[in-house]
């Protein structure tokens, strides 16, 4: 490892952590340009290497679904909690379109139903002592607010959940108007899913970690069978696990985040920019340009060959061009395979 700064004499020699703290940018560059063909980052990974996620589900008692995700030193707890929104509490004049809207049809209306009624309530808490920059007692920082807005918009734009899973319907046994025909199905309420993401520890890439945690927790979620009880005149649930239902998710969108490290050019040799997969906190501190790509390869039968790009987010600089972006999408596809294996419990 190069611990001397590439400067004219007097040559300074620092221990690693001090070099990293005093001059982070040359520190990372020294690492990346140390070996000619195989550049290693300060954390020992190669530029293209992601951290392998560790996922544990169902560990929280009071949640319908929960997951603990570890991405290196980043660890996240996500709890999904379902509560009932009664039809009389539904704000505004929302009309249930009836059974004709179809259970299977992927109509555009569902989006407005979920988003308009706020049936998904995701929230993120960073100030749990997980990082020195987020101290509790203050309002959520802009970083936390941006993070949660990105997660919410990804939840809605990928249309991950089916609105039909969340509806609580009721069909009366007798039709008061016409006893011969069957009664119409009425909407009695909705399940509202509270997605609470708590960071235990942050070491970079909070977005990917929380998204994997949300996905894992949603896959783990078990909604009890809810029905309208005429005698009770309210919605009751059955506590039998056999009647409970898992959420069906549309596809499996997985996000991959990259950070672009712009090296300072000293002479005309070698590459000066590196695109680092899955940056840690130290690398996030020295990189300005970040790219997040969400891909989903579950639609087709051909595995990772058949992909849909669900979202591309890029900000902070101008290094990543069209060709680089193509390469990053390929790297995201590889990442999709890795993460989906862990999610399925195969790895």
């Amino acid at each position: 490892m190069a611990t001397t700064a590439p400067q004219p004499p007097p040559a300074l020699t620092f221990p690693r952590p001090i070099f990293a703290a005093v001059s982070p940018h040359p520190f990372l560059q020294a690492h990346l340009s140390a070996a000619k063909n195989k550049s290693l980052r300060a954390n020992g990974r190669t530029a293209r290497e992601f951290r392998v996620p560790g996922i544990n589900t169902g560990s929280l008692t009071y949640c319908n679904g929960s997951a603990v995700v570890r991405l290196g030193n980043t660890s996240v707890v996500c709890g999904v909690r379902a509560e009932i929104l009664k039809d009389e509490d539904i704000p505004g004049t929302y009309e249930y379109p009836g059974q004709t809207a179809g259970e299977d049809s992927d109509d555009e209306d569902e989006g407005s139903e979920m988003e308009g009624l706020r049936l998904l309530v995701p929230n993120v808490e960073l100030s749990t002592g997980s990082t020195p920059s987020h101290i509790p007692g203050n309002a959520p920082t802009t970083y936390a607010q941006t993070l949660i807005t990105r997660i919410r918009s990804l939840l809605h734009s990928t249309r991950l959940l089916h609105a039909s899973d969340l509806r609580i319907l009721y069909r009366s046994s007798t039709n008061p108007e016409d006893p011969d025909t069957e009664a119409e199905t009425q909407l009695k309420g909705y399940w509202v899913l509270y997605l609470d993401v708590f960071f235990v520890s942050i070491d970079g890439n909070a977005f990917d970690a929380s998204w994997i945690a949300i996905l894992a927790a949603l896959r783990d979620t078990l909604l009890p069978r809810a029905y309208f009880d005429e005698e009770y005149e309210g919605i009751l649930c059955s506590d039998d696990p056999k009647e409970a239902q898992r959420l069906s998710l549309r596809g499996l969108p997985i996000s991959s985040t990259f950070a672009v490290f712009e090296g300072r050019k000293e002479d005309d040799e070698g590459e000066a920019d590196w695109v680092l997969s899955d940056p840690d906190a130290f690398e996030e501190g020295v990189c300005r340009e970040t790219v997040s790509i969400v891909v989903d390869c579950e639609g087709g039968k051909k595995g990772t060959k058949d992909l849909v790009v669900r979202r591309v987010e890029k900000s902070g600089g101008g290094v990543v061009g069209r060709e680089t972006m193509g390469g990053l999408v390929k790297r995201s596809i590889d990442r999709w395979g890795e993460v989906s294996k862990v999610l399925e419990g195969k790895a």
Partner: protein, 327 residues
């Protein structure tokens, strides 16, 4: 509910927790789910403790006390919970220039329940119970830290409760409302907070006069005895397992100096409060044994790693210790 513009809020009309049909229809079935204490009166629950879980913090610890009653898979109603707490220490670091001079270390404690920590959902903004716990924890820790060694500095102790003990059995609170609101669970949570924060402070290397540990003892009415009035003193109570808790006490106890930095007693203690306090100190000594062993092991692993020249990361060792009461 007040709206918080910086977070995502629930629908305006508000939502309600699901009501399970069998809890209101079938009281016999309900009674079957009631947990009961299977431990001896002086036996503590198992404790799981791990230090250095947050690399970016100067010290951190995670404590878990699993529920002793086994979870049944036949119902979706959540069983009695276990205690899961993380603590993180940020600092000591210099106070901002604008702050007035302080000759000793400024301690700030924050205790926060996660929204999914209890049977009814909690909000993100700290409520009075959380602030109260924070003050109690601060008193417990202030007496231990040698603050004079860090003038003009501050340290943040952040405790997050991922899952907390309950105040009583959920079936009781729904039907009678006797156990609810009495806050027995908070005492257990405070004891856990003291223990985990103390382990994290030691992990951060802040000088202390001793290790402080939390312990709880309670007086309960024995349901099996012929005399309805017979009282039993137990260590480390799980409030859900008892029909009636008469009194409870939590202490922050320094075992080697035999001192108490924090005491919180509730309920009808009777003529002899000393027995209850002594019970709580015994419980604290039980958790101290675990904390000591875990810290020693973490230290050994650290030095072991250094001698082998492999200081890339602390070897984190999970540890689980079976305990019997210190009494």
């Amino acid at each position: 509910m007040n709206t918080d513009r910086r977070r995502n809020n629930a629908p305006n009309g508000g939502t309600s927790a699901p009501v399970f049909a069998r809890t209101i229809r079938d009281s016999e079935y309900l009674e079957k789910l009631r947990p009961s204490r299977s431990r001896g009166p002086n036996e503590l629950r198992r404790i799981f403790l791990q230090t250095s879980i947050i690399p970016s913090a100067s010290g951190s610890a995670y404590l878990e006390i699993p529920s002793s009653s086994s979870a049944t898979s036949s119902t979706l109603i959540p069983p009695t919970s276990c205690l899961k707490i993380t603590a993180s220490i940020q600092g000591p670091k210099p106070l901002p220039r604008s702050a007035p001079f302080s000759p000793s270390l400024l301690l700030t404690t924050t205790v926060k329940f996660a929204p999914f920590a209890t049977r009814s959902r909690r909000g993100y903004i700290r409520d009075s119970a959380e602030r109260d716990l924070g003050v109690h924890l601060e008193t417990a820790l202030r007496g231990v830290i040698i603050g004079e060694r860090w003038p003009k500095s501050g340290v943040e102790v952040v405790v997050t409760i991922l899952e907390g003990d309950e105040d009583g059995w959920w079936g009781d609170s729904a039907s009678e409302g006797s156990a609810a609101g009495s806050g027995w669970g908070l005492l257990n949570v405070l004891a856990g907070c003291i223990t985990v924060a103390s382990a994290a402070i030691t992990d951060a290397g802040i000088d202390c006069v001793d290790m402080v540990c939390g312990g709880v003892a309670a007086i309960t009415r024995n349901p099996e005895s012929r005399h309805e009035k017979e009282l039993v003193r137990i260590l480390d109570p799980c409030p859900a397992e008892h029909k009636e808790v008469v009194a409870a006490c939590v202490v922050g106890y320094l075992a080697s100096r035999d001192e108490i930095t924090e005491i919180w007693m509730k309920g009808d203690v009777g003529a002899d409060p000393d027995a209850l306090i002594e019970g709580a100190t015994h419980a604290a000594m039980g958790s101290l044994a675990v904390v000591k062993e875990v810290l020693l092991e973490a230290l050994e692993a650290k030095f072991h790693g250094q001698t082998e020249g492999n200081d890339a990361g602390l070897k984190r060792k999970a540890h689980d210790v079976e305990m019997t009461g210190g009494a």
